[in-house]
Subunit: 334 residues, 4 copies
């Protein structure tokens, strides 16, 4: 009964079925029938014409998106706890030729318009200082909080007023959509976003993530950078087919709802005093003594220690609700 | 009956089976049981301790390998028709911070020790010129020729005498091994190679290629660059499992033998006068008038025009030998 | 009596005088009174509004200019013997994040519109190949040939028709202007050039070169790259003052005329059979046996061997015409 | 009576004399007689064999030094107020291919061993996080504080224990040496430093700074990067001659002593309550109301506002002590 990471979960059966269906001769290098359908599928989902680029990892998705929105000499504003700052080995700088990440503070890894404004205003516009070019937020955040459409739109307006481009790292975008009940459009371009990294791997996919460009003019260069960084697969159809399988029948949303529901059940069991952050998606950060953690582990529950006196639980699209119930009961019994 | 590209072919059934077998919860980010077996599997195959890095594309494999062997201020010697020069969108320079490709000539995209020596000697050792740091060859070459162990060893010796590192782009390494009958060791480290890009996608894989380091000291930095470039998959087990499936039962070799055999049958049908290059692997470059090409297409055979009066045929691991026979007959009948 | 290089020559006395005049307290980082005059001085010279950036070396000038005209994923077309390819240690790729130099052929290091067209047409527009973005020529060329306004305009038109930006490496632009008698405007923007590296160091300067942008929109980013690459001097006034001193009283032109005249005198002494290239600026490439070269050296003349049976003579702004006369006589006497 | 910046000051007369002396024909590209003496001159000064690289700006010196000490995938620890973080337009990342600056806190822009240890320990050694590779401190700091030999050695020991290389940004190294009375050796390699950016421009030079490598094995690659970044001047002798002129007769030290003495006199006049930081070199950060500042300006004193209620005064090698006395009196009279 493992609550380590949504990356540890298997793929949704529809993904494997899609791979089997795509397992026939077709044109190489994204020239196939599945790849041809992706722009349309995402345009339908987002209720506007978008262009999509697909790669195998969220790090690549974020980096390629940000390389379009920030020049080598610019800075990307992001939260101090953002994945792009802490867990991508410097990929954004590698991809765009050395751009700087300027770090913002805020509880739960959430960014506010004021934090953006304040960081922006600290930079002199002269040539000695790196000029902010873009904002990147993560929705759901690294601590499982969710930006509502209104919160996102307030950031989008601040970006517009400061001349910043606006990127959303949506490694868990599905969980944010499931949590808010908002439409993908309201969470992105209607709120001013220029690009979204739309994650599928944490949500039942195997190895395919998408960059969705709402702002025009980026997709052509992004496709070149995708190739130049070794992310154009010769058999791209297997990635496209995965994504289509998860978009069909709103599986992406159903999977996220399931993961969120499991997290909610655990959150209720924890109670507000144990919770370091509100549980709005599929992650829980739980205050717990080493003895309590050991007691849970002795009952067969696996998870990561996060900080002294704090554990992390992550639920997945395929979480066994019986196991969730047992863990909830075990936490209540502590 | 398509003879377009080995990238257009489907995956071997064992690959899909391996994906299904790996479709359960395991540790993320290459921490799983399949990933743990790869160094051993490649060490067995190469009869020496090697370290392997796996990525989704040959471009990534070549670029990461070359970034280890050539510093930003150095030059990589390669053939003018090398894939890294012509078909990777400048990825080697992107990956290693701007290294130069110094181009060599030679029939069939093959490089000779003399060509290496001559290019090396043209460079003054002063700070004004970019100093050669590595040689990269492709085996089998972009025109389907194969380096024997002796030819490779002669290049390896030249590299050693000039202080160059030695990389082999083995997008079709399996075809070269099948063609020569030589052991993987004899075609690589025993011949002085420091690193090999070992291709699986053109040979029945889905989206997994390996970099095999024979020279010590590169794998740790390469793993960091793999992450930094967005090639560390959160569910790496699906890539590792593919590669293992193709290494098991020597499927990689069997697949290549099948593709090579299909090419040989077609080569015999073409006869030496039609063949622009000797057919030693799974590619044929065939002199053919537009009318002849049209006649073949009218019979249901598909392939690319390569140059005026020249077509390219590529055979795959799954080539239907009946279709090959029909094409052979059709060519003979021209 | 040395004919090694125009870089070996001293500075013009007016340059030292200008440094002394600037040797007082003023605002740092190009905020001084000399720097403020440069845009105007170059605009006057070029008969149009231009923006100028000044740096200490021709390599920096070329690289910053080209980084504005070619994106990281693009290619710069240039002659195989161009300084940016052979003598700048890969600086253009360092500066713009890995752009490729695509090499053109042509006698005397001169590029023709046909060579540009032919190289452009060889590139497939797909994402696998690096797309040409700019042309860079050198005027005067590395072999001392000069592009006329008409030749330059023909290249400018070809660039325009192909969508290429157009850069001129003018390390010896003054010599080209002196040789053709053409106006700076006719040799540059009226011929379609977007940017010029305007050399002063080989022509009596100490350590200041200029980038002149004719195309709008580049100077702001170029100023940031100038800083980012460590070329914004804290006491920039000493560079600006040098350039102003050489622009005043047309010293730049006078210096170049003097150097060209010395070269012409030597060319006449050599006669057409000895000359590998026409002598149109201040460089001579002269067929000469080792014995003949030794004989000249025995008489006190110093110069570089260039190739077997070939020497190079370079004349400078301060060339002693008596020494030139003696060398001319000595060559005639061989 | 200007107290803006030591960059605004003129050059020392010996520097202009040295330029005039060097104004004759010699070998280009640092092949001249002045350049040949620099390694020796610095080795004498530092009492050990060192290798020196000279460039025109402190930004270039810092960036080239750091590119030798930190790989593209690494991080440089530095103070949050360090010049490399705040005032070099991202140059360190540009030079080494995207390395990260990890920011440390501490009063007066000073770094402590504990701050280094604490930042180091926060980084997981896995591939997801950027690994610290080097520490860079500034001596004297951006706020005019000075590291003693013992403080520097404590940092050097911490670096050694953590496997970090150790760089000193010595834009005002002369002021630190003058302030501590310590030998250059005790302030650098005897304290564990691997490289020093040795500033001359703020201390009477025109446009020459040096990188001094104490650790072996860096100078050759640094010379290539110097060329590759456009910092190898074709007439390098004018930079070398400047540096030699400032090293001769310990002018570098005399100049710094003069600047420091002027600052001390002003510090005494300010009194401890006005001083934001101790005055240990040639910079003063002084609490002062807008009205007081206006009153000083009305008397002819010029300086920068630094923060609300705070001004900055910088003294130079050539500060007129009479003007200093008048400013001191005016401050006392406030």
């Amino acid at each position: 009964m493992r609550f380590f990471s949504d990356n540890a979960a298997p793929c949704h059966p529809a993904v494997l079925d899609a791979l089997a269906s795509a397992n026939r001769l077709d044109t190489a290098y994204d020239g196939d029938q599945w790849s041809a359908r992706l722009d349309g599928a995402f345009s339908d989902l987002f209720e506007t014409n978008v262009e999509a680029i697909w790669v195998t990892t969220g790090t690549a998705a974020n980096s390629i998106a940000l390389a379009m929105l920030c020049p080598p000499e610019g800075a990307i504003l992001c939260h101090r706890d953002a994945h792009i700052e802490n867990d991508e080995a410097g990929a954004p700088a590698f991809y765009n030729g050395g751009a700087k990440l300027t770090l913002l503070d805020g509880p739960g890894a959430k960014v506010t318009p004021n934090a953006v404004k304040s960081a922006f205003d600290r930079v002199r516009p002269d040539v000695h200082q790196v000029q902010p070019a873009a904002l990147s937020i993560t929705n759901a955040t690294e601590y499982g909080l969710v930006y509502s459409p209104a919160e996102t739109a307030a950031l989008g307006e601040m970006c517009k007023s400061l001349g910043l481009d606006f990127h959303i790292d949506g490694a868990r975008f599905a969980n944010a959509a499931a949590s808010t009940g908002a439409s993908p459009a309201d969470l992105t371009w209607r709120a001013g976003a220029d690009a979204l990294s739309f994650g599928f791997v944490k949500n039942g996919g195997m190895n395919a993530e998408a960059i969705v460009f709402f702002a025009p003019g980026h997709a052509d260069r992004a496709r070149r950078l995708k190739k130049r960084s070794g992310h154009l697969m010769s058999k791209g159809r297997y990635a496209a087919a995965q994504i289509l399988a998860l978009l069909e029948e709103d599986r992406w949303l159903g999977n996220a709802r399931a993961a969120n529901a499991a997290a909610s059940a655990l959150a209720e069991a924890c109670g507000p005093e144990r919770l370091v952050h509100a549980v709005e998606a599929n992650e829980l950060f739980v205050r717990m003594s080493p003895e309590e953690a050991a007691a849970l582990r002795a009952q067969g529950f696996d998870f990561y220690d996060w900080a002294p006196g704090e554990i992390r639980l992550v639920t997945s699209w395929d979480q066994d609700m019986a196991a969730v119930g047992r863990l909830a009961a075990a936490i209540r019994a502590l």
